[in-house]
Each structure stands twice: as structure tokens, then as C-alpha cells.
Symmetry: C2
Subunit: 384 residues, 2 copies
């Protein structure tokens, strides 16, 4: 099996059961049928194989599985993205104590993934910034009118913020209609840019299901937004891929996508089970076309394990021929006072998102200016 | 807050932290902003409230929260389905030890959900069966050609199976192109029905992402399939809602949807965290338009807790004005010998799905006939 798709799992449980659980996984994820009843041809063609099984720590085994690539292809030889995910973790997700940690695609099928349209470099370019980190904030809290949010946006932009996003709970509520909000915020940012001579990018939240998603994406483009926030956990990966592969509409090029992690914790939080956040947010989101990914930082109110944050960074930036790197966007209760530590960890090729804490220090505009100044200073190379 | 959306959570952790965690959840899921910095108007309008907090068992508290309905509406007063999910479990999913167990919608917004087009009763009607349980099986294993799968389909239909589905790992692979497979299977089933005088319904697997999903749905309808299998965990809920709300295309009415649970275990398996399977598979899938839901039975190779299976049944059938009931489809390694126990538990308004075990007893056609006969006998009312 030279041309195989490899996946890495952690199996939580007694070592004595590991071998049979590994075999079980191979069957469950491919044939889903008693192998002894299948024809030798079908077994050879489809059945996954254990490539390696070793103890990682007490009661935790690392399992490497090889899957025949053919079973995740479509009839034209392209990758069937849903089937890839199914083969990696479909049914086996229904058994406890299995965590999908990584996968490696054969290089020749990487071209079947869109990857980021802009990615980290492209977003830095759009922001007009050479050396970061970029600084961003969210329009919040919900419950305010488009006029109030636009006024906040103007203050942030005048303070020098690079990227503004809607708080992910701000949608199209009666008190904050989507199109009106986006139009007013874009207008406020244009006014601000006359004063600052710089651009502040605006990414409204288009997360929605069914026909509403398409409608909001179109409205965002029409109103002059610079990108989109999509909570991929809420809508599902189909929506991400569809947006990432969308073509030019009404002569407007498609907008870059910032993925938000709402609901994703249901997959990732329990260390014994589910999907490792690095793989999901850093690896899969990148392959399926996100340009940047927001995730709860290890510093902040979510207490994400540091290793998880590092994995998201690594998966988002590891070398994949033809696939741009993802912009990491740590967020979730970070505070201005944490900036040196944050920047030391995430580096200058990131976008730091601070929300509520910017509102705790009096005048919003000058707090934003402080945020920008401190972040950039922390990101600058030490003088030698 | 008379007109509120209520949600029920289980918080795993020491009782001493429960009150602050409950308050934290209310803020995280709505304002996501320091409440003391928000205006009284915004707090009143948007902030969720703890309605009840009580000890359920040691280190597990039951929390009932009320959310203002307005925050999950769109500007026309309809429900924003993604935002509903976001408010229920978006960010809080990123903190450990929180499980979303149930929610109750104010009755007047139920109309914003499509619900099943056919549901349990409609699927019984399509199958031409008055008293069940319905019996179904999957075309498997993968790796066979359309011709081979069609031949299996013919055998199952002649054995009297009510509903055939593709194994969820059979997609559009080079060895089994979708359109050719569906066309051949439909043909084989038509031939069989000439002999049996009965109809066997066929639900091919249309699970795919991006433009492929639409293509397969169209091909399925065109080739004469009776319904669709969609692995909602793989594609996301957006895809389910979009299919459920699809209108007539090329004068063909939309097909009923059987949801498959692949990947869903990442959400549901850990009892301390995530989303309760009853709520997700029985409640949400039903509201968003699934007609039936496949889930791993408590009897079978997944070892699903019995209470979870019962919850799926209850959520799928509880009285919701204007929303049809969901057809429960227990599956996952059930065996013929388990039928009496299975039918006793799931009752006759269900579809029993047995896959691999039907291939263990020699001739497939006669094994299917035994399956039908034994299931219906078990479902018949005891003679009095």
C-alpha cells in the first residue's frame, strides 16, 4: 500500500485490548462488514491496515492506520471530502475513547483541496501591514443597533485596529439587521480611513443555515465587507467548502473567510475522545479553504491546553505544496496586560483578537491605539 | 421573560462552582461581554438568566437557562437556526464538563422549522406497510461494482425488505460511480417488485460537500431513488436544512431524508460533555427536516447507553404542534437473534436496520425473508 492515506489515533484503554480495537477500527472505517465474508478482491481494495501500534502512555496507545486512497476518491479521481472525513472518523466516533489526532494525505491529492485563497500572507497584504502581529477586535456586545455598532467600529478604526469582526452572536436580529449593519460599519470605516490614512478590514458574521447563508454572503459582498466570519462548527464543513470554492458573483471576487470555533468544543474538548483541535481547526479548516482561524487561546477564559494551541499553529503552517498557510487568530478573553506573553507564543504572523478587555480601560479609541502599539512593539525583532 | 427559549444543561464539577459556572454560561452564550459594562437596555434585552440550578447527582448539576427569544430571530421574525445552535452551545462547548441536554422552544416559533416532510407515518405509507416494524438493510460492503450491488439489492427486495440504503461509506468511488449504481439498483428493485408485488424503497447515500452534494441529490432523483441518506455529522446541519427546504426541481418533488450518525459520536459520546444524542439526533435533526434517523442501537456493536436510545425515540416523537414525528432507525451490529428484544424496545413504529448479520446465514434472499417475518411477528400485538 504505497499510495495510502495515513491517520493517527489515540486509543484510550487497557493495552490488552488495543490490538483488537485497532483491527476493529480498520473494519469499521472501511468495509463495515465481516471481513471474512468479503471477497479477497474487496478486502484488498478497501480494508484499512494497522501500520503501527505503540504505547504512548499508560492506557493510551498511538495507532497509525493506512487507508487505500481509492475509497476517498470520486469517480473523476478527485477527493470526496465528506468521505475522507467519514473514513477518518465517521462510525468510530460512536465508540468511546478514540481520538483522531492527525492525518497525512498522499501529495498528489492535495490539489483536490482549495486551501486558503489568501491565507496569512494575503490577509497581511490586505491589511497593508508587513510586520505584525495584526490586531483585531469584535463589535460587541449584541443588542446594540447598527448605528451604535458602526460608531464603535469608527472608534476602533481610528485607534488603528487592523481587522474588525462581528461578535459571532450578532447575526440578523430584529435589533441589528445584517445588511443595515454591514453598510453602516463599512461607511464608518471609510470615514475613519480618511483620517488615519489606513484601512481597517471588516469581517461581518455570515453564519447561517439554508438559503440564509447565501443571502448574507451576497449582502456582505454587496455592502463592501472585506471578508466573512463563518462559525464552521454551527453550519458544518460543507458550508466552508462551498464558500471557499465559490466563484465570482456579480463581478465581485469571493471574500476571505475567518472561521470561528463556536460549537467546535463539542468535538475537541475531551482529551480522550473526538478530534484533536489542531487537526480540525488548523488542518482541516485550512485544507477546506479557511483563510484564518479563530480559536480560544491558552491565555484567556477558556483555559485551552497550550499544546492544543501550538498544534493549531503547526497544522495551519506546516508545508503542504500548493496550500497557503492559515492565519492563526488566538482569542477568548485575552487581556492587554497579557500581550508580551501572547506575542512571544504566537509570534508576529498572527492576528490577536481582544474583545471585552478593550472596553475596560476608558476611552475605546485610545485603548485600541495602545493595543496596536503594544502588540507591534512586542512583535518587533529585539534590537541587536 | 414569559416568551423565552429554555435550555437544559448538565454541569459536571464541584457544587461549589456551579453558581458561578451557570452565570458564566449565561454571559458566554449571549452578551459575551462584561455585563457590568453593557447598558441596562442591552442587558435586559439579551442576557440569559438562570431559571433553576439543582444537584442531579454528586458533582453533576442540572441547569435550566432562559434565553430571550429575540436573540435567535432574524429581522423578519423567523428563527435563525445557526444562531439558535450558537446560543444553546456555541462558545460554552469550548469549556469542559458542560452537556446540552434539552431545549424547549416557545410554541409560536415552531413554525420556523420545516420538520420532517414525511416522517414516520409518511415513510410507512411509502413502504405500503401498516403495521411494522419496517425492516431495512444496507448495500455492503464497499468495493463492489454497481452491478454487484444491484444484484444484492434484487435479492434483498425479493426477500421482502422494505427499505434499502447504501452503506454510508459507498459514495461515488471509481469502483462504484454514484449515478450508475443508483440507476442499476433502481432497475433491480423494479424487476424484483414485478415478482413480489411489493415495493422496496431505495435510499442512496448522497453525503458530500460543496457542489457535489447538489449533484448527487439531483442524480438520485433523476435515477428514481425513493429517498436520500445524509450523514449530517459530516456535512453539517446547514446541508440538512438546505435539503429539507429544497423545492420541486425539474418537476420532481424533493426526496425524504434519512440521517446517518457518522462523526456524530464526536459530539455525543462523552457523558460529561457535548450534546446529548437524544437532543441532537432525535430533537434537532427532526426539527431541521430529517424524516428518519439512523443511530447505533443499545443492542449491537456500539454499546450505546440504553437511556440514550430511549431519548432519541422520545425526542423524535414528542408532541410538537405542526411537526411530524421522526422515524427511529436503530442499527449498528444488530443480529437476527436479537429481534424479539429489539422490537420490544423500539416498538412497531420503527425501521430496523440489520446489515452484516444478514450475510452470515447463507442465502441472502431467504435470510431477508426470515428477518421480515420475525420482525413483523415480534411487532404484532399479542393475541388476547
Amino acid at each position: 500500500m504505497v499510495d495510502c492515506l495515513q491517520a493517527l489515533y489515540h486509543l484510550r484503554g487497557p493495552p490488552s485490548e488495543a490490538t483488537s480495537r485497532a483491527q476493529e477500527l480498520c473494519v469499521e472505517q472501511t468495509l463495515e462488514y465481516p471481513p471474512e465474508l468479503a471477497s479477497p478482491h474487496v478486502r484488498e481494495r478497501c480494508l484499512a491496515r494497522v501500520l503501527e501500534l505503540r504505547e504512548l502512555e499508560p492506557d493510551c496507545q498511538e495507532l497509525r492506520v493506512g487507508f487505500p486512497v481509492e475509497i476517498v476518491l470520486d469517480r473523476h479521481g478527485g477527493v470526496d471530502h465528506a468521505q475522507l472525513l467519514n473514513v477518518l472518523f465517521g462510525n468510530i466516533s460512536l465508540k468511546p475513547g478514540v481520538r483522531l489526532v492527525d492525518f497525512v494525505l498522499p501529495p498528489h491529492i492535495l490539489g483536490a483541496f482549495p486551501g486558503p485563497r489568501l491565507g496569512a500572507n494575503g490577509l497581511f497584504e490586505r491589511a497593508g501591514i508587513e510586520r505584525g502581529p495584526l490586531v483585531g477586535t469584535a463589535l460587541k456586545p449584541m443588542g446594540q443597533s447598527p448605528r451604535e455598532l458602526a460608531s464603535l467600529a469608527g472608534e476602533c478604526a481610528r485607534g488603528g485596529i487592523d481587522l474588525l469582526k462581528d461578535d459571532h452572536g450578532i447575526c440578523d436580529q430584529p435589533f441589528s439587521p445584517f445588511l443595515e449593519r454591514v453598510t453602516r460599519v463599512v461607511e464608518a470605516l471609510r470615514e475613519a480611513s480618511v483620517h488615519t490614512g489606513r484601512r481597517c478590514l471588516y469581517f461581518p458574521n455570515v453564519t447561517a443555515m439554508g438559503s440564509l447563508l447565501e443571502e448574507r454572503v451576497e449582502q456582505a459582498a454587496q455592502a463592501g465587507a472585506d471578508g466573512l466570519v463563518l462559525s464552521v462548527g454551527l453550519t458544518g464543513l460543507h458550508a466552508l467548502l462551498a464558500l471557499a470554492c465559490a466563484g465570482v458573483v456579480n463581478s465581485r471576487p469571493p471574500l476571505p473567510i475567518l472561521a470561528h470555533p463556536a460549537l467546535v468544543g463539542a468535538f475537541t474538548v475531551h482529551p480522550d475522545h473526538g478530534v484533536a483541535p489542531g487537526l480540525l481547526l488548523g488542518g482541516l479548516y485550512r485544507l477546506l479553504g479557511a483563510d484564518g482561524v479563530i480559536f480560544p487561546s491558552h491565555i484567556g477564559r477558556f483555559g485551552t491546553p497550550t499544546a492544543d494551541c501550538r498544534d493549531i499553529m503547526l497544522q495551519g503552517s506546516r508545508a503542504l505544496p500548493g496550500i497557503r498557510t492559515l492565519l492563526p487568530v488566538p482569542a477568548g478573553g485575552m487581556r492587554l496586560q497579557d500581550l508580551p506573553e501572547i506575542v512571544e507564543f504566537y509570534g508576529e504572523r498572527s492576528l490577536l483578537l481582544i474583545g471585552g478587555d478593550l472596553h475596560r480601560h476608558g476611552d475605546l479609541r485610545s485603548t485600541c491605539a495602545r493595543f496596536v502599539e503594544q502588540a507591534r512593539r512586542a512583535g518587533a525583532p529585539a534590537e541587536s
